[in-house]
């Protein structure tokens, strides 16, 4: 409870206020939530009411005032009844919260109704025309004993009406006072209610005619101070629309007039307090205090409403901007469609009323130019932008300054084209920057000069920062999608390319073959293939398209088609290469060429025919370990598109010995470098083949790759890498024949 203490307020009062506050909400609300107990409350309140009526009836019949003790009991009953009514009303009203405006007009309506009814009742009294001033009201002047039964009824009816109106007013205004409450304001409110209650109870058994004592004076002062404190809690006004505020002004002024007229001694309800005072003096005091507070609160509300009326537009606009900004943040999470996002970003400043037209320019990063593209406009056609302003010049300044720029004098700026009836007076341009990158600019404009205030610039720049993040996210998302799509495409390309390579290695008598090709990227420009020309002859090809990646892969595919279709018609290596050169020359780009090594092995004769079009030399190793590079002369395919290719092309015929191994490969093998930057090279390859020459083709192939990996210290390559090993063991048949 210590934190509830506040300086300047008696701790006891603090403690009391907090206790009441908690207990009230705790016990009574819980009790009232139970239907049976609610009914019990109502019945109890009604019993109190009728008991008090009965008391007055008896008093009227007897014609003499009661003894003080009985009067005290009577007061207790009356007050208990109204306390119960307060809690019941509190319970019911709390379940139906209403808007501030409705609070005002329902209070007004009830006040009007009660005033009308009371007025009517007082009128009836007057009509009876009882003599004397007090008698005019229907009470004995000295004793205050009611003179007629009608007086008793009126007295209680008026008291109930006024008290209930006061309760309604307090309970409804409570929501207004406690709007955006703090602990402090909540405590002030309950302290006011409690002090009003305590002050009223002080009047119990007191004669209204007596002069107020010092205690009462202090009580009144305290109540008034607390009333004033609470009367200035009017922050609900700020959030009303213009129309609601205007209505509020009307309602509050009517309520002020009505409350003032009914509270004034010579007002529309003359001496109606007399009835209440005769029924219960404390209740009269409480009602008076409550309605006075209502009057005070209406006055402050009225004044604040009036003062806030002119700024309503600005306030609503600011609130609208904030809302729009949040809605953009929401949009960021949903809209990844760039066009939608661009439009949403462009619309908001206009829709919130900050500007009259807006457009969004995005720097095209791909073209690398500073010239931005207008991607969205709002309240002005896209075609008009370029005629209205020099976008390139404006954007240049924005890019240089990288902060919001206001061009206040549209007519004097030469980048804003002067044209009669031109709608641009002021331009505010804001850079869209994320992660230190300038994505583009948001341009908002107004038709008047000096159209943007500092707060506009501020809110637009905050907004632009949000928008930049949104754009950046959308872009990243798009890039991610694109990457995924490309990666899928490349996966497909790799599969297709793998299918272009032979599925099964050829199986010919006496010849063992092993081959592999690994692209550096998803797809590559290396190619190897085999084709059995007849039972005895196998054509093989290893080729390397210059460059890497996708373009190389397309030429590789073309070469595959040429190999598959041409080989049978032109089986001799020179014929084939010439055909291939002719076929490729028409499609190859000027800077692209293909190196090819093409050979035919005759497994019966034991002969290798080989031609080389600019390719790495083949390695021939005998069983005994004698090795050499086979390097007949030849230009790469595509280097010469005339007759020179054929002229320089040589073919080599090499008789094979059983156990001879032919190794063909692409430059990816010999040019692979280790971490020190040294190439694997021909020598090392030659040595490795020599070392492993006695192994079977597959094992030899594997050993060569292992040797390369050992040398490189890794298994990925910088270049496409193809390795084909052909080992001719000769058949007994053939060896015999060659021996004879």
């Amino acid at each position: 409870m210590k934190e509830a203490l506040s300086p300047g307020r008696p701790p006891v009062a603090n403690h009391f206020a907090n206790r009441i506050l908690q207990s009230r909400q705790g016990y009574i609300d819980a009790a009232l939530r139970n239907r049976g107990q609610r009914v019990a409350f109502i019945v109890a309140a009604l019993i109190c009411f009728f008991l008090s009526v009965a008391f007055n009836v008896v008093e009227w019949l007897s014609g003499a005032p009661w003894h003080a003790a009985i009067d005290f009991a009577y007061q207790t009953v009356v007050i208990s009844g109204f306390v119960l009514a307060w809690f019941l009303l509190s319970y019911f009203l709390k379940r139906r919260p209403v808007s501030p405006l409705k609070t005002l007009w329902t209070t007004l309506l009830l006040a009007l109704l009660s005033a009308a009814v009371i007025r009517l009742m007082i009128g009836i009294t007057t009509a009876e025309n009882v003599e004397g001033d007090a008698a005019l009201l229907g009470f004995e002047y000295d004793t205050g004993v009611p003179l007629t039964f009608a007086t008793v009824v009126k007295m209680h009816a008026i008291t109930s009406l006024r008290a209930l109106l006061a309760f309604y007013l307090l309970l409804r205004f409570q929501d207004l006072v406690l709007f955006k409450r703090t602990k402090q304001s909540q405590r002030n409110w309950y302290l006011m209610l409690i002090s009003m209650g305590v002050f009223s109870l002080l009047a119990i058994l007191k004669d209204p005619a007596e002069d107020p004592g010092i205690v009462q004076f202090v009580g009144v002062t305290l109540v008034v101070i607390l009333m004033l404190l609470n009367a200035f809690r009017v922050s609900w006004i700020v959030f009303l629309s213009f129309r609601a505020k205007a209505a509020g002004v009307g309602f509050s002024i009517l309520l002020i007039l009505l409350l003032f007229a009914s509270l004034a001694p010579n007002g529309i309800l003359p001496a109606h307090f007399m009835y209440i005072r005769h029924a219960s003096y404390p209740l009269d005091q409480f009602t008076l205090a409550a309605l006075t507070f209502g009057l005070l609160y209406c006055v402050t509300s009225f004044l604040f409403l009036i003062f806030h009326l002119p700024t309503t537009g600005d306030f609503r606009r600011k609130a609208g901007e904030i809302t729009a900004m949040y809605s953009l943040t929401n949009l960021v999470n949903k809209a990844f469609d760039p066009d939608k996002l661009h439009l949403a970003i462009t619309k908001t400043p206009v829709d919130t009323g900050t500007a009259q037209m807006a457009w969004l320019a995005i720097a095209d990063e791909r073209s690398g130019s500073l010239r931005p593209q207008v991607v969205a406009t709002w309240k002005t056609p896209t075609e008009d932008i370029e005629t209205m302003v020099d976008m390139a010049a404006l954007y240049e300044e924005l890019a240089a300054r990288r902060e919001p720029v206001v061009l206040d004098e549209g007519h004097a700026d030469r980048r804003i084209r002067k044209k009669p009836g031109d709608p641009i007076g002021t331009i505010l341009m804001t850079p869209l920057i994320t992660r230190d990158r300038l994505l583009g600019g948001l341009f908002v404009a107004k038709d008047v000069v000096q159209g943007f205030e500092e707060d506009d610039v501020e809110s637009i720049s905050v907004y632009a920062a949000q928008a930049a993040i949104a754009l950046d996210n959308a872009r990243l998302f798009e890039e991610q999608l694109e990457r995924e799509r490309l990666s899928r495409e490349l996966d497909i390309a790799r599969e297709v390319q793998q299918r272009l390579l032979p599925h099964d290695l050829p199986k010919m008598e006496g010849l063992a073959v092993a081959a592999s090709s690994i692209p550096a990227y998803e797809v590559g420009g290396d190619y190897y293939d085999f084709l059995e020309l007849d039972e005895a002859r196998l054509a093989f090809i290893v080729a390397d398209v210059s460059g890497k990646g996708t373009s190389a892969a397309f030429y590789m595919a073309e070469l595959q088609g040429i190999f598959r279709s041409t080989t049978r018609m032109a089986p001799s290596p020179t014929d084939f290469l010439e055909q291939a050169n002719l076929a490729l020359s028409s499609t190859l780009e000027r800077h692209v060429f293909v190196s090819v090594i093409y050979g035919v092995i005759d497994v019966r004769k034991g002969e290798l025919t080989l031609a080389r079009a600019g390719h790495c030399p083949a390695i021939l190793i005998s069983r005994e370990g004698a090795g050499r590079l086979i390097r007949p002369q030849g230009l790469g395919l595509g280097l010469d598109r005339g007759g020179r290719f054929r002229d320089v092309l040589e073919e080599e015929h090499i008789p094979l010995q059983p156990g001879d191994t032919v190794t063909v490969y692409t430059d990816g093998v010999v040019e692979s470098r280790n971490s020190e930057g040294t190439e694997y090279g021909y020598e090392r390859l030659l040595e490795a083949v020599k070392t492993h020459r006695k192994k079977e083709a597959a094992a030899l192939h594997e050993a060569l790759l292992a040797d390369l990996h050992d040398y490189l210290g890794r298994t990925e390559y910088d270049d496409d890498m193809t390795l084909v090993v052909l080992k001719w063991d000769g058949t007994q048949n053939h060896t015999k024949r060659s021996a004879t």
């Binding site: 460059g547 800077h591 190196s595 390719h615 030849g634 280097l639």
Partner: protein
């Protein structure tokens, strides 16, 4: 970080390009730009000095192919001089010596250009 560079020199009417470092798919654009500049300057007599060229990939070789025809049609040539053995081997494997004038020393290339010109003047 590219470890390739192209230096420009003028020798009489001949533009000499000094290549340094490794010419591969990543650095090839620099040589392309250099040859492009020669073309814009209407300088068709070009000697590529490869004394400091450590490596050339097939993409690098492609650049020569892309420009040679045009230079020759304009009456000029691209002569290649001073290649290191391993780099020459790459040129040689593809048969470039059959298509290009590849000489050992830059002076030789200059002499050849002069001889060509004298020949032309005489005819």
């Amino acid at each position: 970080m590219s470890n390739f560079s192209v230096g420009f020199r003028e020798e009489a009417h001949i533009r000499i390009l000094d290549l340094k470092g490794e010419l591969d798919a990543h650095t090839v654009s620099e040589l392309e730009a250099a040859l492009q500049k020669c073309r814009e300057d209407k300088n068709h007599h070009i000697i590529v000095n490869g004394a400091h060229l450590q490596y050339i990939s097939s993409a690098g070789l492609g650049v020569f192919m892309a420009y040679i025809e045009e230079m020759r049609e304009a009456g000029g040539d691209i002569k290649i001089a001073g290649l290191q053995a391993n780099v020459f081997n790459i040129f040689d494997l593809l048969g470039f010596p059959l298509l290009f004038d590849i000489v050992e020393a830059e002076e030789e290339a200059i002499r050849k250009f002069d001889a060509d010109r004298n020949e032309k003047n005489e005819s």
